[in-house]
């Protein structure tokens, strides 16, 4: 008996008696072939008291350098936004934390209404007609959008994918489309943004082979894309326009749904979810009404009860695996309900005005940071496109970006993401991200430390820990 179980010796005796066996072993013997019984138990240590486990996990946490331990400008898909305390409280409530999927709507109205409100806020954010109740996370959402395009046009075995789509999204799409045999063709960039001319050429070349054009807003390098133009080109060839978007940026940027996008997806972490070393967060998934019956995952809908009261249920379930099995539009079952709750609470916390104010603040501080860093001797902008909260610079060619990052971290500042880890052509590139938690003071400190670290690297100083993570996620 552990602290989480409650069968005393007396209980066990009474229970075995009621079952009609003399030992638990009898029950196992009766069912499990001797040949596959494990002898001698698991080769794992004994259990520990709660406080010893706490001490161990605290020790492990102290071996990590978190956003609370350094001034960080690391983004590239996940961002260190402030999470309002109300979210911790609400997500910690047993009533939200411990139930499962609302299979019994009469006792799940809380969770179901939250899904309904979440869907509403995602529709508002993206400007699209219908949202599901969440998918796993950003890149998975992009792959799910690709699968929707495949269902919509089974005879079109190509995706045209912007070179500035998040590398994780790109790779996830590739990994998952192998199974059903759709291939990815890359659309090159021009000064940091997707090259519309090259896209048109590719569309002319592959025409009716293309099920979807996939890009990101703002793109991986922080640049704002001309979403309308990209969508129009896709539609000219009967392909879908799929956009991965930063939900925070959508506070100030035109809703993709108003710019011809058919499916808008994205990483929801920035909306009230922790960094958590990459998860759990949630992926949002919204589309036009045309695709409502191709949507993956749970969707909550409004209805009434036996007395005529307003209520909510999971609906359009004939799309789903538990009903349609091999004909389902997706295999997703458990998704990210709790993280989506954080998302809708965060958006409600920001509110109509706050979401815009946050975006405007980020635009200004990001511009200030961009100026401050490109003013450093030898540092230049990697591109000149307008940006919202993230931008790319190029460091002097005589220093290793990994070295500079490590030296800056030794000085208490994490300057951003080494773009060379993703593409050789981006060697020397540094991707810098802002959140409202990075003040002007922090930005000034960043500029100071970055300049210092570049000089230090030139002078042969090396971080005791060695250079920051070397190239390893190279796509091209």
């Amino acid at each position: 008996m552990s602290r989480y179980t409650a069968v005393t010796d007396a209980d066990r005796a009474a229970m075995l008696d009621a079952i009609g066996v003399s030992s638990l072993e009898e029950i196992f013997e009766a069912q499990i072939p001797a040949g596959v019984r494990l002898q001698g138990g698991l080769d794992l240590p004994d259990g520990l008291p709660e406080q010893d486990v706490y001490a161990h996990l605290l020790e492990l946490s102290k071996k990590n350098t978190s956003a609370e331990d350094e001034i960080t400008f690391l983004g590239a898909g996940m961002y260190d936004h402030y999470i309002p305390a109300a979210i911790d409280m609400l997500l910690g409530r047993s009533e939200f934390l411990t139930p499962y999927t609302p299979y019994q709507p009469e006792v799940s109205q809380g969770g179901l209404q939250v899904m309904f409100e979440y869907q509403t806020s995602i529709c508002e954010l993206t400007g699209l007609d219908v949202s599901n109740a969440s998918v796993y996370e950003g890149p998975s959402a992009v792959a799910a959008a690709g699968y929707l395009a495949k269902l919509a046009a089974p005879k079109r075995p190509l995706y045209l994918v912007s070179a500035a789509l998040h590398p994780d999204s790109r790779q996830t799409l590739e990994t998952l489309s192998v199974g059903y045999g759709t291939e990815v063709v890359e659309v090159p960039l021009k000064d940091g943004a997707t090259d519309a001319v090259a896209l048109k050429a590719l569309l002319d070349e592959h025409g009716d082979q293309v099920s979807a054009v996939v890009f990101q807003q703002p793109n991986f390098l922080g640049a704002i894309e001309d979403v309308q133009a990209l969508s129009d080109l896709a539609h000219e060839q009967g392909a879908l326009s799929i956009c991965q978007a930063d939900p925070i940026a959508l506070g100030v940027l035109e809703a993709p749904g108003n710019q011809g996008v058919d499916v808008c997806v994205g990483e929801g972490q920035a909306l009230g979810n922790r960094l958590d070393f990459g998860g759990p967060s949630f992926g949002f998934f919204a589309a036009t009404n045309a695709h409502i019956r191709r949507m993956p995952g749970r969707i909550a809908g409004e209805t009434t009860d036996a007395d005529g009261r307003r209520g909510f249920v999971l609906t359009l379930q004939t799309r789903e695996q538990h009903i349609r099995r091999e004909k389902a539009t997706s295999n997703i079952c458990t998704s990210q309900a709790l993280n989506a709750l954080a998302g809708v609470v965060y958006l409600t916390w920001l509110g109509r005005d706050g979401l815009v104010e946050l975006g405007e603040l980020l635009i200004q501080r990001t511009h200030y940071a961009r100026q401050a860093l490109t003013a450093i001797d030898g540092v230049s902008a990697l591109h000149d496109q307008p940006v919202v909260r993230e931008f790319a610079i190029t460091l002097p060619s005589d220093v290793e970006v990994g070295e500079v990052i490590a030296l800056a971290q030794d000085r208490g500042v994490n300057p951003g993401f080494d773009l060379g880890r993703v593409r050789d052509e981006w060697n020397g590139g540094l991707l810098v991200a802002l959140t409202e938690q990075r003040s002007r003071k922090d930005i000034d400190r960043l500029a100071e430390v970055l300049a210092e670290s570049i000089t230090a690297a030139r002078n042969g100083e090396r971080s005791p820990l060695g250079p920051s993570a070397p190239k390893q996620e190279v796509v091209a």
Binding site: M15, Y100, L253, E254, G279, T303, Q317, Q472
Partner: protein, 517 residues
């Protein structure tokens, strides 16, 4: 909304004839947050603009014309709205939740505490591995422990849930065959399989071939043999299966599958029955997925987050998703997407962003540290004991109306068939389930597995007390007794929930999927 697990309770009353007894929650008209608040109200205050204001940084064409119409509420309104919504949910901390196949075991709060430590919660996924050694060590240790439980050496934590793990499993199977120059086209799965299995197979580009279930509740070996040809890439099984039956022929099945060069895939949703008792790897499975949100007590969150790591044998390891964690000679840990050899060296690629649902890893790792090897075994043994005890109680009380669908014992869960009850008492399993809500219980899984008519799939888990199981069995007996007098009571249940029975057909016919504004 809470289970009545006390011995002494006031005699259960007839449900109200009319709505005159509506509770405050029932009286309250459901109002979304979008219908609350007023323009100008706010819970958020932006930090001051501390840099010079520059206009025109964003081209007008890219700027949003209309702001997203989010709510305008004060913090007190926000808090009260969501706290009140939460009270319209049934939850595991306040009641018994025997939802079959979902392993609704107790969620220790210690896990929420350690996950919230800033070193875990505010760690960026792209942090230099040299500065995230604690996280990598934790993941490495978790991989080891999970591998030991499954009896398979190579673990990838990346998949986000069970079905994601299934997809990863079928994709590595595909890669394995392709690497051997074989282009197989079919995947076998028993008719008792969970819907995610066939759905996964389709997404992975294979054709699903169902395998029959034999009268003993296991795989029909003859049917399997008949369908096992060289076009079969994989057989997906869960063992014990969704009937709670441990397949008596598992060794034979493994032989057949390996005989045709296919892989044997283990759907780990039911692993809670066999931890420390029998290992999938020892049964002959090549690939296993875990549901950390089931066997390893990640809270279910109302439908996620979850985590579905997979473990594989040596021959499959090279195809595992990247990045992989490596322990270096100096005892430190690294994360690489381009391993020279071993796991991931011929990887199918990335399955999602970053490294997986780390927050779930922290919880499940803490759980494994708390229980240890003996504790995990005790958990499974107790889960099986509780299930068999509840089965015995129910067969004793209402066995004539709700017989066990297969066999006479079970593993960690069991399936009762409501066909007799439907015919003789006049209420369906759905009615029984809805009436259980008035008793303060979450009903078991209903109408699954599809193989059994009027199926009631009950999984009590190891963390419930005998007292709770006794009270639950009595409640089911009460309901059937009550229905024998008057079936309409159950047919119209529930009565005391925040809303009564909901019209699902209406919801699907004219979908209203967002608050109109």
């Amino acid at each position: 909304m809470s289970a009545v697990d006390e011995t002494q309770t006031i005699a259960y009353d007839r449900p109200p004839a009319d709505a005159s007894s509506a509770t405050p929650m029932q009286r309250e008209h459901a109002t979304t947050i979008f219908e609350k608040g007023q323009p100008g109200r706010r819970a958020f205050e932006a930090p001051a603009l501390d840099v010079p204001l520059v206009d025109g940084l964003i081209p007008a064409s890219a700027r949003r014309a209309e702001p997203a119409r989010l709510p305008n509420v004060s913090e007190p309104e926000l808090v009260r709205h969501y706290v009140r919504l939460s009270r319209r949910n049934f939850d595991l901390d306040s009641g018994f939740y025997p939802l079959g196949s979902c392993t609704m075991k107790h969620n220790p709060r210690l896990h929420e505490r350690v996950t919230a430590l800033s070193g875990h919660a505010r760690l960026h996924p792209l942090q230099d591995p040299k500065r995230s050694q604690g996280a990598l060590e934790l993941m490495y240790n978790l991989e080891h422990a999970l591998g030991e439980v499954a009896g398979l050496p190579h673990v990838c934590l990346q998949p986000s849930a069970g079905s994601h793990g299934e997809l990863a499993g079928v994709l590595v199977t595909r890669a394995y065959h392709e690497a051997r120059g074989e282009h197989r086209t079919k995947v076998l799965a028993p008719d008792t399989a969970h819907g995610t299995n066939p759905a996964t197979v389709t997404m992975a580009g294979y054709e699903v071939v169902p395998v029959k279930t034999s009268p003993d509740g296991g795989v029909d070996v003859e049917d399997l043999r008949a369908k096992a040809d060289d076009q079969v890439a994989c057989l997906m099984l869960t063992n014990p299966n969704t009937l709670g039956v441990f397949d008596p022929n598992i060794e034979e099945i493994a032989k057949i599958v390996h005989g045709i060069g296919a892989t044997l895939y283990y759907d780990g949703a039911n692993l809670n029955a066999v931890m420390g008792i029998s290992r999938p790897g020892d049964m002959g499975f090549d690939i296993v997925h875990y549901n950390l949100h089931k066997s390893f007590t990640q809270p279910h969150g109302g439908g996620g987050p979850g985590s579905g790591p997979i473990a594989v044998s040596d021959r499959i390891a090279p195809y595992l998703p990247v990045p992989v964690i490596q322990k270096l000679a100096d005892g430190t840990f690294d994360l690489t997407s381009t391993p020279a050899q071993g796991p991931g060296s011929k990887s199918i690629g990335k399955l999602r962003g970053f490294q997986g649902n780390y927050g779930c890893f922290v919880r499940s790792y803490a759980y494994i540290c708390s229980l240890g090897g003996p504790g995990l075994q005790d958990a499974s043994e107790t889960a099986v004991l509780n299930a068999n005890y509840l089965l015995a109680r129910l067969q004793d009380l209402v066995g004539d109306k709700l017989p066990l669908a297969f066999g006479d014992k079970c593993m960690h869960e069991f399936v009762l068939s409501g066909t007799v009850m439907k015919r003789e008492v006049g209420i369906r399993i759905l009615d029984l389930a809805k009436r259980l809500l008035d008793h303060g219980y979450h009903p078991p899984t209903v109408y699954f597995p599809l193989l059994v008519d009027e199926a009631l799939l009950i999984e009590p888990t190891e963390t419930e007390t005998k007292e709770t199981l006794d009270a639950f069995a009595e409640a089911i007996a009460d309901i059937i007794r009550e229905a024998q007098d008057d079936p309409t009571i159950a047919q119209n249940a529930p009565y005391t929930t925040p809303v009564r029975r909901l019209d699902e057909a209406k919801a699907a016919k004219r979908p209203v999927l967002r608050q109109p504004l």
